[in-house]
């Protein structure tokens, strides 16, 4: 048996297969299918300072090998998350990563600070940097200086290690990756969804109430791989690869491109057992190929 134990920023994870934010709620529903302690980690739906109702429906649409979503960060807010959701996750011994967002640097910081009270439960904070900054209008992950400042501020306020989750909707992913590394991030995760839309040709209305939404699923895997590959050339930080992952081969591709771990997103909707199947198959795959740990694959793509 290969050893799937994976270390990111000094923290040990049972395996490199995590659940992506927004695709596993707060873990409750998935306990119907498996034990949360069997995952590398679970990343919660984005938590904001105040509860948010989210966008009106329609919120989702199926596209060719992908889907659009505009959920609008519906969440219970950080206080209720701590009082109602953390105890459940603790009881199930979930390795907990909390995805955080805010409309300003200050709001990100306040959510992160509030999480300090449960720092025994929260192994990492993941900053959802695709949120638009109220002041500049631009997403935190589009302007390097904003991105860097955000990470720096959150790092100051919390001892919990921080992952910067990058948006793919940028001209140069390496610029942003370098900026958050300089800002002190402990790891990168990428990619969040691509901006997309669809229109109902019968009603002439957009398929999403929010008009545009985020594209995820197998359709975007090639984009995610290219971004992970490029970022891994530019920074030393561990990278958690996300985008269209469905099976063990997808995970190997991400690792060869430089990812140290991965997050499974949309695939959970089609088969909630996906992360379990992947860890199982990864073990077998490594064994068959003569590897003893997934870490041996990181960045091992052969280019020449």
């Amino acid at each position: 048996m290969a050893e799937l134990l994976t270390e990111i920023a000094g923290i040990e994870f049972k395996n490199p297969v995590w659940l992506a934010s927004g695709t596993c709620g707060y873990g409750e529903e998935l306990t119907d299918f498996y034990g949360l302690d069997e995952l590398g980690a679970i990343v919660t739906k984005t938590i904001s300072l105040e509860p948010r109702a989210g966008h009106p429906p329609p919120r989702v649409f199926e596209t060719s090998s992908g889907m659009l979503n505009a959920i609008g960060l519906q969440n219970v807010g950080v206080d209720k998350f701590i009082s109602e959701k953390v105890p459940f996750l603790r009881k199930h011994r979930a390795k907990l990563v909390v995805n955080v967002a805010g409309r300003s640097v200050d709001e990100y910081c306040r959510v992160s600070e509030t999480l300090n009270s449960v720092s025994d439960d929260v192994v990492m904070i993941e900053l959802n940097m695709s949120c638009p900054n109220v002041a500049s209008g631009m997403e935190f992950s589009k302007k390097p200086s904003l991105a860097s400042e955000l990470v720096k501020s959150v790092k100051k306020i919390t001892p919990i290690p921080v992952i910067a989750k990058l948006s793919p909707n940028v001209s140069d992913i390496t610029e942003i990756a370098v900026a958050v590394e300089e800002g002190g991030a402990d790891a990168l995760s990428m990619i969040n969804t691509l901006v997309g839309m669809a229109v109902d040709v019968n009603t002439f209305k957009p398929r999403l109430s929010n008009i545009t939404g985020g594209l995820s699923g197998p359709a975007i895997k090639p984009v995610a791989l290219a971004m992970v590959y490029r970022a891994s050339q530019a920074v030393k930080l561990p990278i958690i690869g996300i985008g269209g992952i469905r099976n063990v081969e997808d995970v190997i591709e991400f690792m060869l491109c430089g990812a140290s771990a991965v997050q499974v997103g949309t695939a959970n909707f089609i088969d909630p057992m996906t992360p379990m199947n992947i860890s199982h198959d990864l073990d077998i795959w490594l064994e068959r190929k003569g590897f003893t740990s997934p870490s041996e694959l990181i960045g091992k793509i052969e280019v020449e």
Partner: protein, 281 residues
């Protein structure tokens, strides 16, 4: 508690009016399922379709579940080609279920198009629980004679069955709500001791009409909603409807059709805000 099961197709046949009847060997789901519950079927399909497709449980039969479906798009069309013996991945039983009415209610089932299955399931369960079939009135609405489904099978339960067609090619002419209104109007004239209780399922525009009708007639109503469902078991937050919620600051919250539903009390659904409909209807 639901699970992912590998189910063998027992049969998959075209029955009347373009509808197909699919029987799956899925004992765990058969055992757990209640009227209103649904399953998520994995269908390999072309054109990059990859979500599962949700189907109501029509009936259970020993370790089998039955699904009545209409081939509409890439998933359901591909499904019609699935041969007996093929193994399909199915998640279920999912969602909540209809509550049972008090014994002496006048039970009105209002189904449109492919909304018939959960109501048939409910009728069958009620009869099994010794409700009087004569107190059950099933309004089955469709565009026309050719698209009405499972009418005879419903009649065989011994309940009152009414066909309502938009083109008048069968039964009452009009929308299914027109048929129900005629009935309710008749009822209020005769003094019936039985309190009417309604159950509805069908396309959202129909359910919206039902919602307006029951509030007008002040009839208790539960309805099984439809929604696009990426997951079906509550993790994506994609399938929500706007529902009254006294506990929230806004007075409403978005509830998951797959988890808090598909069955909702009609008076809990908010169909429009500020005069704007919140769905593409």
């Amino acid at each position: 508690m639901s699970g992912v099961y590998q189910a063998e197709i027992v049969s998959n046949n075209s029955i009347d009016n373009e509808a197909y009847l699919l029987t799956l060997k899925a004992p765990e789901i058969a055992r757990a399922s209640m009227p209103g519950n649904f399953v998520q079927l994995k269908i390999e399909m072309a054109d990059g379709g990859f979500w599962r497709r949700p189907f109501s449980v029509l009936d259970t039969d020993g370790g089998n579940i039955k699904i009545l479906y209409k081939p509409l798009g890439k998933g359901t069309l591909a499904l019609t080609k699935f041969p007996p013996g093929k193994i399909v991945s199915v998640i279920g039983a999912l969602g909540n279920s209809f509550s049972f009415p008090s014994r002496d209610s006048m039970i009105i089932l209002t189904g449109g198009g492919i909304g018939v299955p959960p109501l048939y399931n409910l009728a069958k369960h009620l009869i099994k629980s010794d409700y009087n079939p004569r107190n059950i009135h099933f309004f089955n609405g469709a565009a026309g004679h050719d698209s009405i489904v499972y009418l005879e099978e419903s009649a065989e339960l011994g309940i009152n069955v009414y066909a309502v067609t938009e083109d008048g090619s069968m039964g009452i002419k009009g929308y299914v709500t027109d048929g129900v209104k005629q009935f309710l109007n008749g009822m209020s004239k005769t003094s019936l001791s039985n309190e009417p209780v309604m159950y509805a399922c069908g396309p959202m525009p129909m359910l919206r009409a039902v919602g307006l009708m029951v509030s007008e007639y002040d009839v208790y109503c539960e309805m099984a909603l439809e929604a696009l469902m990426p997951c079906g078991f509550g993790i994506c937050m994609g399938c929500v409807v706007m529902a009254r919620d006294d506990k929230s600051v806004e007075g409403f919250s978005y509830k998951r059709v797959c988890r808090e539903g598909p069955v909702f009390r009609a008076d809990d659904i908010i169909w429009e805000t500020d005069g704007k409909k919140w769905l593409n209807y």
